[in-house]
């Protein structure tokens, strides 16, 4: 299996003096020998089977060659993708196409999937407690809870108001309901999009949503209007590209207001108010609230950055607050220029799986590279992207963008529209099958 040949000789020569993460290029897709030869290496409990957690679960099984037992705790029965959900709002994609099952993780990878909520942890006994499925011991715990909303930051946005004024910033019933509000909106109606100050989940997401809804209005309700109330001082991702599309393709349809920070909403009158007292009335209001790490991260003492996010070690993705607990995805305090994206959460999942396999095998985990891409569909066919590659800096102890790497699309294109749809299909499959 590991026969030597001249190509390998050349390669090994090339690798002779290079970084430690290189080297085993010749080997199949597992970092450990065949399962029969391994003693069990331990058990990892993963909480949250979204983009980060489900990826970690799969790659822990794959790279340990089954030597690590994995229990995956997820409160939802299905994986519902936020990526591509903006297309559903515009009627450019079926809702069913963003909903996926967890069977692949069970059948292909032997992961024990438990549908329950984690409610507590005993960090000394290394035990996770769930609401109705009992307790689970772990050697290592991985937590990828995504975000929760700071509803209190917008006065009037209580539980009752959330039934009328939707956020649709977690895909699911809210996505379906917002689509219905848009379908019910008469031609000539006003749609308001509010955007919180960064950082929030998916920097280009709100601007993609505006583009998708503009496309729907242009093709179905041409007298309607979109007002974008952005808490930031400008479009914070792919700004020139989005602005170009809005100016060229959706002329007169979109009104953009920077530095418009919403502090109040009245669900009855559908009026929103800014911190300096400006007001706007909309027929449909989509309110994307400010965010912080998912609730469970707060409950178990992981949150140690601005009272909002989780600080981690960027080699192992282990929490700096609680030992043996690794935190992934949107819940982390992002490294410089690292977005809170599904693509990046998938990368975190792989990096954490790699580190845990190395640790449980008694070896020293090495920093790996992390790369991001965020595609955005700007109509029913064309897309744009932003991408970056992040390399660990051992002095600063954080990943930094490799100078000269990454960038944005030259222009929106149909070709990238095809790649965007391929990306969604391929990343779902990389996570779940």
């Amino acid at each position: 299996m590991t026969r030597f040949n001249p190509d390998r000789r050349r390669l090994l020569q090339a690798l002779g003096g290079s970084a430690t993460l290189l080297g085993a290029a010749v080997l199949p897709g597992s970092a450990l020998a065949a399962p029969g030869k391994n003693k069990k290496l331990g058990r990892v409990v993963v909480v949250g089977a979204g983009f980060g957690g489900a990826t970690a679960a799969k790659y822990l099984r794959k790279w340990s060659n089954g030597a690590i037992e994995v229990v995956l705790i997820e409160r939802n029965k299905e994986f519902i993708s936020c990526p591509a959900s903006n297309e559903v709002l515009a009627g450019n994609r079926d809702y069913a196409s963003i909903v996926h099952g967890y069977e692949g993780l069970k059948k292909n990878w032997g992961i024990k999937v438990v549908h329950a909520s984690m409610i507590a942890v005993d960090v000394d006994k290394r035990k996770v407690k769930t609401d109705h499925a009992g307790e689970f011991d772990y050697d290592r715990l991985v937590v990828s809870p995504g975000v929760d909303f700071l509803f209190g930051a917008v006065a009037g946005y209580d539980e009752k108001a959330q039934e009328k004024i939707l956020h649709a910033w977690k895909a699911g019933p809210q996505t379906v309901a917002l689509r219905q509000q848009l379908v019910d909106l008469p031609d000539g109606g006003v749609y308001i999009q509010t955007i919180p100050k960064a950082p929030y989940r998916c920097p280009p997401g709100p601007y993609e949503r505006v583009s998708q809804i503009a496309h729907y209005f242009k093709t179905h309700k041409p007298n309607s209007k979109i007002i974008v109330l952005d808490g930031n001082d400008q479009i914070i991702s792919k700004g020139k590209l989005f602005k170009g599309v809005w100016d060229n393709d959706y002329q007169g349809l979109i009104e953009y207001r920077p530095n418009w920070n919403i502090t109040e909403v009245n669900a009855e009158t559908r009026i929103v108010t800014s911190e300096i007292g400006d007001r706007e009335r909309g027929d449909v209001i989509n309110l994307v609230p400010p965010q912080h790490a998912g609730k469970i991260a707060h409950d178990i003492g992981l949150v140690n950055a601005n009272n909002r996010w989780v600080n981690i070690d960027w080699v192992t993705l282990e929490s700096t607050a609680v030992k043996n607990v690794h935190v992934l995805g949107d819940a982390t305090l992002s490294a410089p220029l690292m977005p809170k994206s599904g693509h990046m959460a998938n990368q975190h999942g792989k990096a954490a799986a790699a580190a845990i396999v190395e640790i449980l095998a008694g070896r020293q985990p090495q920093p790996t590279l992390l790369a991001n891409t965020c595609y955005s569909m700007v109509d029913d066919r064309r897309a744009i992207h932003v991408d970056s590659v992040h390399r660990y800096d051992s002095e600063k102890k954080t990943p930094l963008v490799v100078p000269g790497s990454g960038g944005v699309s030259a222009a929106p294109s149909i070709e990238e529209g095809l790649f965007t749809r391929a990306w969604a299909k391929n990343i779902w499959s990389d996570i779940l099958t």
Partner: protein
């Protein structure tokens, strides 16, 4: 070159993937950076091309050309600039060995 000989011996006899405290070389986990777009192990059937089992020289030449900006691309020219030439050799070799 001389230094490599014991390493090669080890590869041939025990396989570097065995669990244990001191493997000869760690697994190049960064190859998984490519899986989200090109499919797990580079295997996929989509508008984004499959890279599993392609000729090693072809893959290395393609990645090097993306990095140099001499091969037309929507995104690979930007991503390839994040990897060293040694890492590109590892990537090309790894994916050429996937079926």
């Amino acid at each position: 070159m001389k230094k490599l000989i014991p390493l090669i011996g080890l590869l041939a006899s025990t396989g570097v993937l065995a669990a244990g405290p001191a493997p000869a070389t760690p697994f190049p986990y960064f190859v998984a950076n490519c899986f989200n777009c090109h499919g797990t192990e580079g295997r996929v059937n989509s508008a984004i091309p499959s890279i599993a089992g392609r000729d090693r020289e072809y893959l290395e030449a393609a990645l090097t050309a993306f990095k140099a900006g001499t091969k037309q691309a929507t995104i690979m020219h930007q991503l390839a600039k994040g990897y060293t030439d040694e890492e590109i050799a590892v990537l090309a070799d790894y994916f050429s060995r996937q079926k």
